[in-house]
Amino acid sequence: MGKTDFKQLVSVEMRFVYADVFRRKSLLLMLVLWPYMITGFVLIVGSAVGNPQAFASRVGVDPAPFFIVSSFILMSTFVVLDDIMWKPIFDEEVGTMPYIVSSPVNRLMYYIAIPLPRLTLSVVIGLTSVVPVLTLYWGFEGFITSALVLLLGIFSALTFSPLATSVAMATYTYSGESWRLMNVLRPLLMVLVGVYYPRWVMPIAMYVVTALIPPSNSVELIQRLLAGIATVERSLMLLGVATALAVAYLPLTKLSVLRWERSKLKEGVKV
């Protein structure tokens, strides 16, 4: 007893997330509709200030499939950041924090397990958005591409987990738990991950900065796939960089979790 079982952790987190979604039907409906809503919004605004042809000629993809994929990637990737940043605030609010801190659970495993259930939910969302839209646009080829997009979306999220945890915990350590900070960080990371603005059209300095964020590499790969400019060498390099960065951030993740916990213990975990 006392040894953390990662599979068991994921399983109970899964129940926690799915209980919230399925026992609150409005949330489930919003999750399914969200990519369509965002795409619709972007297309309406985009058409008002420019035209779809200009976008297609600059980026190389029709705006509708591009933005439905972007919305899906955004959802699946930012689920990680949201879940990790939201969990300590939520636990403090509902009073579960002292029982988590006073448990012998392996902290690194715990924070890696937290976003995984939501990722499975993201697959469901991908199946209701990315798959039908890409299949509608490009037929069987679109269907295959959509399957790859789903896999890469999950991969992006997984590789984002260590950095997202580090950022969240460092923010909390030095500034206290706050929704406001999260609201500042999210849009900044959205731009840097390159979801709505492909990296290959970014200035070189910004490209270098974004390269340090693991999911930005897999997001680039997804966008290259959509634009039909993905080569095997480039794809493998992008996947390799994303994986290497994720692994490299792990010690930082552990350190930031322990630092945050230490700061909580100094002031006392709120009951």
Binding site: G2, R23, V94, Y99, I100, P104, V105, V271
Partner: protein, 331 residues
């Protein structure tokens, strides 16, 4: 009985910011603990008794690895709560608040499964343990197993919280005001279970400001006030330590006006003379040696032709003990 929990000279100061308008603030320090030392042995329930803000929760937090002390040492089952927190965490069960601390959208069972996973209890053992605890705390009868936590009554929440504290069958249990706000049956159930835990050999540290409860649940009481331990001992020991001024309470059918002076001439102090709700007159006589004066008191009353309805000797209560040691300003 071996020592399970030991705290030595614990000090803790909280830093708070007092706001002076929108931007400016001044730092203030609140001394929560000022040299607290205590121990709990296996097989005993120790009550940490004190008013709000006395330092009870701070002590429990330090012992359960939720707060770092500024100085002093604390050990649980021989492990340092600061340097060996992980080992301490494997050996403790905690119950901190009754009304919250679980996920609203999960059922009672699902909540216990969640925390069981954090405690590293293998799934098969966990299932059996949950079944046993739900039965022991009668939560299955109350429907708590399959009902969402948000639908629980306060009594059910308290029971679930105790179930979580016992989930890993820990040798040491910390309970912070476990019956606060509960209905009498739930409070009684919890008190009985706490006593049972000690009989099983567990060390239980139980905080409360309810004197009655502490007296019936705890083997030993540690009184804390303003961050300091003011007295320690069994309820009987503590009562025996206060000066033996006791009260003879006599209920009479008629007003005893004409005999008050007689008592005063006998050197007795009549502290109270009032009419009770049962339409009797209550006379309270304070004395250091009630056994020696009781015959004389009865003689005076009967010779004055008054009927005694009720006669009792009041023992000092834990409240008297607490006020004696902590003073009236305890909070």
């Amino acid at each position: 009985m071996s020592i399970a929990v030991e705290a030595r000279n614990l000090f803790k100061k909280y830093v708070t910011k007092k706001r002076l308008g929108l931007i400016r603030s001044v730092t203030e320090y609140v001394e929560a603990l000022r040299g607290v030392s205590l121990n709990v042995r296996h097989g005993e329930v120790v009550g940490l008794l004190g008013p709000n803000g006395a330092g009870k929760t701070t002590t429990i937090k330090i012992l359960s690895t939720l707060l770092l002390p500024d100085s002093g040492e604390a050990y649980v089952e021989g492990f340092d709560v600061v340097r060996e927190a992980d080992k301490v965490r494997e050996r403790i069960g905690i119950m901190l608040t009754v009304e919250k601390g679980f996920y609203n959208r999960l059922t009672g069972r699902e909540n216990l499964e969640y925390f069981g996973a954090l405690y590293g209890i293998p799934p098969k053992i966990l299932k059996d343990r949950i079944d046993k605890l739900l039965n022991l705390l009668e939560l299955d009868k109350l429907g708590g197993s399959d009902r969402l936590f948000e639908e629980f009554s306060l009594g059910m929440k308290a029971r679930l919280s105790l179930a979580r504290a016992l989930l890993k069958d820990p040798p040491v249990v910390f309970l912070d005001e476990p019956t606060l706000g509960l209905d009498p049956p739930s409070a009684r159930k919890i008190r009985l279970l706490v006593k049972e835990l000690a009989r099983e050999g567990k060390a239980v540290l139980y905080t409360s400001h309810n004197m009655f409860e502490v007296e019936i649940v705890c083997d030993r009481i540690v009184m804390i006030n303003k961050g300091r331990i003011v007295a320690e001992g069994s309820p009987e020991e503590l009562k025996s330590r206060i000066p033996k001024v006791r009260a003879l309470e006599v209920h009479l059918r008629e007003a005893p006006n004409h005999i008050i002076n007689t008592f005063k001439e006998m050197g007795l102090e009549v502290s109270q003379y009032s009419q009770s709700s049962e339409e009797t007159y209550v006379l309270k006589i304070l004395t250091k040696n009630p056994e020696e004066v009781v015959d004389d008191v009865v003689k005076v009353i009967t010779s004055a032709g008054l009927d005694i309805v009720k006669f009792k000797l009041e023992e000092p209560t834990l409240e008297d003990v607490f006020i004696y040691f902590a003073g009236d300003s305890s909070g």
